[in-house]
């Protein structure tokens, strides 16, 4: 690997100032599970790694029944999958965090890092989108919020400008009779990158769907919000026909590639399958809430 500098600021201000100083030549560093691999492979080149794990705001996981969840960008996945709050209120997002890599990876990787890496196949990103999460960004020009579905702009690239830092993810409090689910398809049972990932959240009104959000991973250049697939469900019972329609609508917006992980046909087909399955699980959970 080429030579790098490492700094570990303990405040947000310091971090932003360091990032600003080095501009394009600096990158926030959290669990390191993607960036170190990319630097070694020469896929990215960055001379300054700014370790953000010592910044308090990035390590917060707090839930308020009205305001919802504040999830610090550097909170490691393991903390999310071990959290009772997550288990109860955001089981889908918890599952996504729990699915990332091995326990060794989950002990280091964060949802924020997963998002900032900008991979279309990130597991937690569709789960966040399904929940309507927003990303709070701090930078030299102040603060801004971006819906997670707009965060990734192309493979490996995000809306973050030089000097900017993702601080936390803001996730609305779950509505009554709502819940979420995340499923991914991988060839093995662990350790793979999603070939298809589907996040779904469902709010029920009796036996009908009041609202839904569906998000897809690994089937286009960026994670996708499948708006039409969700719309197709609103006001309907979640029966086979409705699930089928949602699955079709989700498959219809896929623009995947053929690669070593799967073919185009396979990804499109499995998107429909996982959409149906994820919606069913989310709805089952919502009934109990």
């Amino acid at each position: 690997m080429h030579a790098i500098n490492y700094e570990a600021p303990s405040s947000l201000d310091q971090a932003v100032s360091i990032l600003k100083t080095h501009g394009e030549n600096a990158r926030p560093f959290c669990g390191g599970t993607d960036i170190l691999i990319q630097l070694r492979a020469g896929v990215r080149r960055t001379e300054h790694l700014v370790d953000v794990k010592k910044i308090k705001e990035l390590q917060t996981l707090s839930f308020d029944a009205k305001k919802g969840l504040r999830l610090g960008a550097a909170v490691p996945c393991i903390e999310i999958s071990d959290s009772d709050v997550m288990r109860k209120h955001y089981p889908g997002l918890r599952e996504a965090a729990h699915l990332i890599g091995s326990l060794q990876i989950q002990n280091r990787a964060s949802v924020g890092g997963n998002l900032c890496n900008g991979s279309p196949a990130a597991d937690t990103t569709p789960a966040l989108i399904a929940l309507g999460a927003r990303a709070r960004i701090v930078g030299p020009a102040g603060e801004r919020e971006v819906p997670v579905e707009d965060f990734v702009v192309s493979p490996g690239r995000t809306v973050l400008k030089p000097g900017e830092l993702l601080v936390e993810l803001l996730i609305p409090a779950p509505a009554p009779h709502s819940s979420d689910a995340y499923l991914r398809f991988i060839p093995r049972n662990e350790m793979d990158i999603a070939v298809v990932g589907v996040g779904a959240s469902v709010t029920l009104d009796g036996d009908k769907v009041k609202a839904a959000r569906i998000a897809l991973g690994a089937v286009a250049a960026t994670p996708l919000l499948a708006g039409k697939a969700a719309e197709a469900l609103v006001g309907k019972k979640l029966d086979d026909a409705a699930l089928e329609a949602a699955g079709h609508a989700a498959s219809a917006i896929c623009k995947p590639i053929d690669d070593m992980r799967g073919t185009i046909d396979f990804r499109v087909h499995v998107t429909g399958v996982l959409t149906r399955r994820a919606l069913t699980i989310a709805a089952e959970r919502a009934k109990k809430n």
Binding site: A41, P187, R188, N189, M191, D192, G262, F266, V270
Partner: protein
């Protein structure tokens, strides 16, 4: 569970002692090749081709040499001219010219990852930075990635010296043709009631050892070199490196480090000569360690293949004819295991009439190396699938069908000579009697499949010495690198012969100057052949012990006998003497006792295995879950049953990975797209069930302890067994590996469409 035909009365053999090298391995003390460090040591890295096929027009190293910390750079110009000829090297037949061309590309790169230059620097990071400063100008040529493309008329030629001797001495990519023939194939098919003919394709796969290749080379000013490396064959590293470097064999010492897996992949050389060359240029020890990506791109995987099989059987389930065409990817240089595959493909069965044609084809992929029963797994995937189909046509249980046709002692092998005592039938019966087979498999989309496999096993040369220490304990020294626990077996054989507790025997793997020539740890030969040398060396020590005791007792040697670990004087009431009691008297009776033996082992006993697999298929995604798996294998005699089971389980796991997800995935430019453990998907702990074992002990008459090799054959049946199980689960015959979700889903959707259409037509 074990079924034994040996009537021996062993005290140590067949028990399960703690392996002697175990403590070092659970405490992190064991030294593997990459763990060696020497004062002043430099670090090397290798520049590799980004192209699958290209002429090298120029290599400029000036900029890289100027980088602070860079000490030397070598290219093929630093290698001596090598001869274009065939030569025996251990179990391999090698061509020195091609070997040299693989170590550093001469004027052409032949695969993505082909080594071009090597740098030595003060840190691995600096060496890596230097690689980016080496400028190579290429003339890119069209990549030849498959046997189909390579054998098309007008295909780009990889090797200018490769000529077709059968047809007009033209340039070719077909390096070799093998043919095996018996009886009258046409008449055979006429006699058949059912004939099945299919074409199979298998993907190139890698051994997947967890430890990357490594080497530390130290070249001294007196022209003597030492190489520390993780290898399956220290003597092979020595002779092959001497060959590439143009050095006398006797000027190289190879010290085999602990080795982190090999499975055949560490039987040749990659980094070793480079470490010596760089050390020679810099005067310092130089260490090179491959990255995982380099291992996958540029070590020696096993061949992908295309196999056409046509087989016929009579209604009552008798195989009567087979016609087989097979072509294996050799990689960039000749030498795929297609010959072995051809000799294995119908080896488990008596077939009166057959014709097998097999072709070794060069393609722009890394030169293949051995991988556990090389060539046999691809072959068995094809033939065992057809056998399953024929059994179904005949309405006979697939195990019974195999039993009806199974080879036994006296039956002719594919190559002609008759089998000696073998245990195929016992493995089939072992499976039939297993709790797994007797259990019922229920549930939708679930299926059970079975397959059998054959592997020759190898003999070859081994040396051993047994030293009796002053306190009556012993050490046993061999030249076989221990990959799977063989040191424990060597100590157990010594302990058995000498009547010692196994903890009183210390087993050692020696360097190339400290023990007689010993061929590679490969071909399932260590427990068989090195075990034979150890047995004889221990017997030699026993003979000397008898002589010494006779001296002490002032008797003739034939008046003394050795049994139960003690020396007994025949006749009168002299109390027996233990080795412990005799050992202090060695100095006065002639000096130390060292038992010695060297063998070129004959009497190899081939191995058979039968594997039973239950799978469940996700009908919507094509994902296959292995629910249960049992393997029965003939070990001849299991010296350390735990490590025999371990070999069976490990080979089975590799076979299951091969079946489901492992493959070399190249893009159309010939670039390997999955050169890491993320996307080269080997089974994790969560992908496999417990692997049940049935150890058959059908003693090998060619070995003093009945041993036959156990290291390889378990990898042969699983791919076919999984394919057969998938068929039972979802009605689809998979004809290519890996049977990964995209491929299986596609096949299932097509199958569903066709059954829908045929239902509509009814």
């Amino acid at each position: 569970m074990a079924a034994s035909t040996t009537t021996d009365n062993f005290k140590v053999i067949g028990t399960r002692p703690i392996r002697h090298d175990g403590v070092d391995k659970v405490t992190g003390r064991a030294k593997y090749g990459a763990d060696y460090a020497f004062p002043g040591m430099l670090h090397g890295k290798v520049l590799r081709s980004p192209h699958a096929h290209a002429n090298i027009k120029s290599i400029k190293i000036d900029k890289a040499l100027k980088l602070p910390g860079v000490k030397a750079i070598v290219t093929s110009k630093d290698l001596p001219q090598a001869e274009n000829k065939l030569e025996q090297s251990g179990e391999m037949v090698i061509n020195p010219m091609y070997l040299s061309m693989n170590i550093l590309a001469h004027d052409k790169v032949l695969y993505d990852g082909h080594a071009i230059a090597a740098v030595a620097a003060t840190s691995p990071h600096i060496a890596e930075e230097a690689l980016r400063l080496i400028e190579v100008e290429y003339e890119v040529l069209p990549p030849v990635m498959t046997v189909d493309v390579a054998t098309k008329p007008g295909a780009p030629i990889l090797l200018k010296d490769l000529r077709n001797k059968e047809e007009g001495d033209k340039q070719t990519n077909v390096a070799q043709h093998y043919q095996f023939k018996r009886g009258d194939v046409e008449a055979g098919f006429k006699a058949a009631d059912y004939v099945i003919e299919r074409e199979f394709n298998t993907a190139m796969v890698h051994q997947g050892y967890i430890e990357p290749h490594n080497a530390v080379g130290i070249y001294n000013s007196d022209g003597q070199a030492t190489i520390y490396c993780s290898t399956q064959g220290a003597f092979d590293v020595r002779s092959l490196s001497a060959q590439v470097l143009g050095m006398p064999v006797g000027h190289i010492k190879v010290v085999p480090a602990e080795i982190g897996g090999g499975f055949g992949g560490k039987t040749t050389i990659y980094l070793e000569p480079l470490s010596v060359l760089l050390s020679k240029k810099t005067g310092a020890p130089v260490k090179l360690v491959m990255s995982r990506s380099e291992v996958l791109r540029a070590s020696g995987p096993t061949s992908g293949s295309k196999i056409k099989v046509k087989m016929g059987a009579t209604k009552d389930g008798k195989l009567v004819a087979a016609e087989i065409w097979m072509a294996y990817e050799a990689g960039a240089f000749p030498g795929s295991p297609v010959g072995a595959g051809a000799m294995c493909i119908i080896a488990p069965y008596t077939v009166e009439n057959f014709l097998i044609d097999a072709y070794d084809v060069v393609v722009n992929r890394p030169k293949t190396a051995a991988y556990r029963a090389p060539g046999a797994t691809n072959a068995a995937f094809a033939s065992e699938t057809i056998i399953d189909e024929l059994a179904e046509k005949c309405g006979i249980d697939p195990i019974d069908f195999r039993l009806k046709n199974a080879v036994k002692e006296g039956d002719a092998q594919v190559v002609g000579p008759p089998f000696k005592r073998i245990g195929l039938i016992q493995t089939l019966e072992g499976i039939k009697n297993s709790p797994h087979y007797k259990s019922k498999l229920t549930g939708k989309f679930r299926g059970r499949g079975v397959a059998s496999g054959f592997w020759f096993n190898a003999g070859m040369q081994s040396s051993a010495t047994v030293n009796i220490h002053a306190d009556g304990t012993a050490s046993v020294v061999t030249g076989s690198p221990d990959i799977g626990g063989s040191r424990a077996s060597m100590a157990m054989i010594t302990a058995e012969v000498l009547g010692l507790p196994v903890t009183d025997v210390r087993p050692i793997t020696a360097d190339t100057d400290s023990i007689g020539h010993t061929d590679v740890t490969g071909g399932s030969r260590v427990t068989f052949a090195t075990g034979m040398a150890v047995y004889e060396a221990a017997k030699d020590a026993e003979r000397q012990l008898i002589e010494r005791a006779a001296k002490v007792w002032e008797k003739k040697p034939d008046e003394v006998e050795f049994r139960d670990g003690k020396l007994h004087a025949k006749g009168n009431g002299v109390p027996p003497m233990s080795i412990k009691q005799l050992a202090p008297r060695f100095p006065r009776t002639g000096g130390p006792i060292t038992g010695r033996a060297s063998v070129n082992a004959r009497g190899v006993g081939p191995g058979f295995a039968t594997t039973l697999v239950d799978v469940e298929v996700d009908p919507d995604t094509g994902k296959v879950q292995i629910l249960r798996c049992t393997v029965a294998q003939d070990a001849g005699k299991a010296i350390h049953p735990s490590y025999v089971e371990g070999q069976m389980q490990g080979g089975t796991a590799q076979g299951l990975g091969w079946a489901l997800n492992e493959e070399y995935f190249y893009d159309d430019k010939g670039t390997l797209r999955n050169s890491g453990f993320l996307d080269y998907r080997m089974p994790t702990c969560l992908d496999l069930p417990m692997i049940e074992t049935v150890v058959i002990e059908e003693a090998n008459p060619g070995h003093p302890l009945g041993v036959r090799g156990v290291g390889e054959v378990s990898i042969v049946p699983p791919v076919a067994a999984v394919a057969n199980a998938i068929y039972r689960a979802v009605g689809v015959r998979m004809l290519e590996t890996p049977m990964s979700p995209p491929k299986l889903l596609k096949a299932m959707l097509k199958h569903r469409d066709s059954t829908k259409h045929s239902a509509a037509a009814d």
